[in-house]
Amino acid sequence: MKRKLLGVIDATTYHEDLEDLLTHRSLAALPFAGRYRIIDFVLSNMVNSGIRSVAIFPKMQYRSLMDHLGAGKNWDLNRKRDGLFFFPSPFVDSDGNRIGSFEHFAANMDYFYRSTQEYAIIANCYTIFNMEFRPILDWHRHAKCDITEIHHQDGSSMEMYLIKTSLLIKLIETRHESGYTCMKDIVTAIQNDYSICHYKYNGYAVMIDSIENYFSTSMKLLESDVWKQLFLKDQPILTKVKDEPPTKYIKGSSVKNAMIANGCFISGTVENSIVSRGVKIGKGAVIKNCIIMQKCHIDENCYLDSVILDKDVKVEAGTQLTGTIRSPYVIRKGTRQGALMNS
């Protein structure tokens, strides 16, 4: 069966406002929803839409992203033909001189030249959504536009584009003459030679570009209508699988309105929170409105409210940490947070 669509994930974006969580990792690898990384959403959507060739263009700290993706086995993309392609950028941004995504694509033209798929979907890596792309491809072909840009319900751009592969190649090859450094440049240009159509997506879709909306979008996961739109049985969000045991609830624990991943050992209280795998919550500890990433240890009698703990954080017994919903308290990866520390 000849495949019509290939996927390009532009993972070169960096959002400064997420700095505290991105010191060791690229945005695409940002943990989300207890057991996923942000890129899992767009990647799974591509695979669920029948796409078997996906090229990922990361930038800077891509070690954890590369480790997460591997050869693509978890997304059924470790194939003899096509499959997952990982193209780290040879360029380093200098201050004030953002390199457009076309430059990154240009460094790997062979991928595009060798592709047999007629169309390409170019997407960002930081949208939380569950979408089938095939209806949009049909719409695009029907509408006979050069480029289809996908929009949110409110009209703002989702920064996802459908385009003929041959046209994409031409755009990349002529980027210096045209001055267009990325897809966004073309669709926002006042005048250009291409017909741009807009497809409105009415489903749930949120772009993560700040600590505040990372936090609020995570909390939205606790609402069943959001949950039901993101985690569909027929279109599952795939991710790297870990061998964690089921979560153990110890006598004295109390958990309400929480999303808990596997491998956790819970002896304390958890409310309105997202808890990732392998987290240990000690007796008497109270976690409210928090996002706790993998392998954190929260010792006895701690009190955490509106806090984001990055991976491998150890919070010593009796520590109290309070943030706000607008401005959650973020603790960086690997920190050992003591009760008497005041930062």
Binding site: A33, G34, R35, N74, L222, W227, F231, P236, I237, L238, T239, V241, K242, D243, P245, P246, T247, K248, Y249, I250, K251, S253, S254, V255, K256, N257, A258, M259, I260, A261, N262, G263, F265, S267, I274, V275
Partner: protein, 381 residues
């Protein structure tokens, strides 16, 4: 093929009839256990963690799900270039189809599989028990004792000794006598059904046993006594640790309950001895504001709106509002409606419990919920 020092043969052909409806369409080693696993995951993980990378799995009864579950062994790190896991079903030779009639004949019929690897030692296991064991230590012991066969033994309570194959040994742990289910046991060291054979001995005695028309071709009943008769060097390897036969509805339930509590004997959280399995890949579990979870083990994909007390819930289980699950085992993708009460029961995979159902045991016998039972409660079911 590359020569291997030790190849494992995992006997997974058993019917497990005492698990009733759970094994009607499913081989016993594939029965779900521990919230996430299947019984065979423990033996396979032990092999992987012990550095044994070549495992033959002998299937026979209802092998469809078991075979596809094992696949090429990637889940247990057994998808290897040389060796790895091989599923060995019975096959027909030029003259006849030969089913596996006994544990020894099953191995005997697969000597060609073993011959490929020219092993020095063969480890014989069953896929029926829940335990963690480093087989490499047992192998080192076998080599040190210059044994022909080493049998792993575990101390059982004296009152239960008559249910097992009991070994009598010298101080040096050399086995001098073997009694199958003795009415007056002289010892409380029971055979775990784990054997390490030196290759030549295995070949010789399987051939000898095969030639005997009166033999039932069983390791415990026929081959071991034969080896003792011939004065071969059999040594006992004492095992200390959790070991559970989960072959009855009651013991399967007990084994699951053993996993609850803060300091349980079988630690699934031990990073140094992980239990691998085919991961279900579902979203994290969701515990609602109405839910109450006490002393339980819950896997991913569950949606809990009721009360869970001292129970084990597998992946994808839904528990409706107002329902209470107590001291029960709920297997994958089962759905419990609202306002139910399930106490001291095992609910098999995919079963839907209608709203308002009450299933509870009044004596201590664990109830295995079946479709017949539900259609009895709800005639239009």
């Amino acid at each position: 093929m590359v020569k291997k020092k030790c190849v494992a043969m995992l006997l997974a052909g058993g019917k497990g009839s005492r698990l009733n409806s759970l094994t009607k369409d499913l081989a016993k080693p594939a029965v779900p256990f521990g919230g996430k696993y299947r019984i065979i995951d423990f033996t396979l993980s032990n092999c992987a963690n012990s550095g044994i990378d070549t495992v033959g799995v002998l299937t026979q009864y209802q092998p469809l799900l078991l075979n596809s579950y094992i696949g090429i062994g990637s889940a247990w790190d057994l998808d290897r270039k040389d060796g790895g896991v091989t599923v060995l079903p019975p096959y027909s030779e030029s003259s006849e189809v030969k089913w596996y009639t006994g544990t020894a004949s099953a191995i005997y019929q697969n000597l060609n599989y073993l011959k490929q690897y020219q092993p020095d030692y063969v480890l014989i296991l069953s896929g029926d028990h829940i335990y963690k064991m480093n087989y490499e230590s047992m192998l080192e012991y076998h080599i040190e004792k210059r044994a022909d066969v080493t049998i792993s033994l575990i101390e059982v309570p004296w009152v239960e000794a008559s249910r097992f194959g009991i070994m009598n040994t010298t101080d040096d742990m050399r086995i001098v006598e073997f009694e199958e289910k003795p009415s007056n046991p002289k010892n409380n060291l029971a055979s775990m059904g784990i054997y390490i054979f030196s290759w030549n001995i295995l070949k010789e005695y399987l051939e000898m046993d095969d030639r005997n028309p009166d033999s039932s071709h069983d390791f415990g009943k026929d081959v071991i006594p034969l080896l003792l008769e011939e004065n071969k060097k059999l040594f006992a390897y004492p095992f200390k640790g959790y070991w559970k036969d989960v072959g009855t509805v009651q013991s399967l339930w007990e084994g699951n309950m053993d996993l609850l509590g803060e300091d349980c004997e079988l630690d699934l959280f031990d990073q140094d001895w992980r239990i691998y399995s085919v991961n279900p890949n579902q979203p994290p579990q969701y515990i609602s504001s109405d839910a109450i979870v006490k002393e339980s083990l819950i896997n991913e994909g569950c949606t809990i709106e009721g009360e869970i007390d001292k129970s084990v819930l597998f992946q994808g289980v839904t528990v409706g509002k107002g329902s209470i699950i107590k001291e029960s085992v709920i297997m994958p993708d089962a759905t419990i409606g609202i306002n139910c009460l399930i106490e001291k029961a095992i609910v098999p995979y995919d079963v839907k419990i209608p709203d308002g159902t009450v299933i509870r045991s009044f004596d201590d016998e664990i109830i295995l919920v079946t479709e017949e039972m539900l259609s009895g409660l709800y005639p239009t079911y």
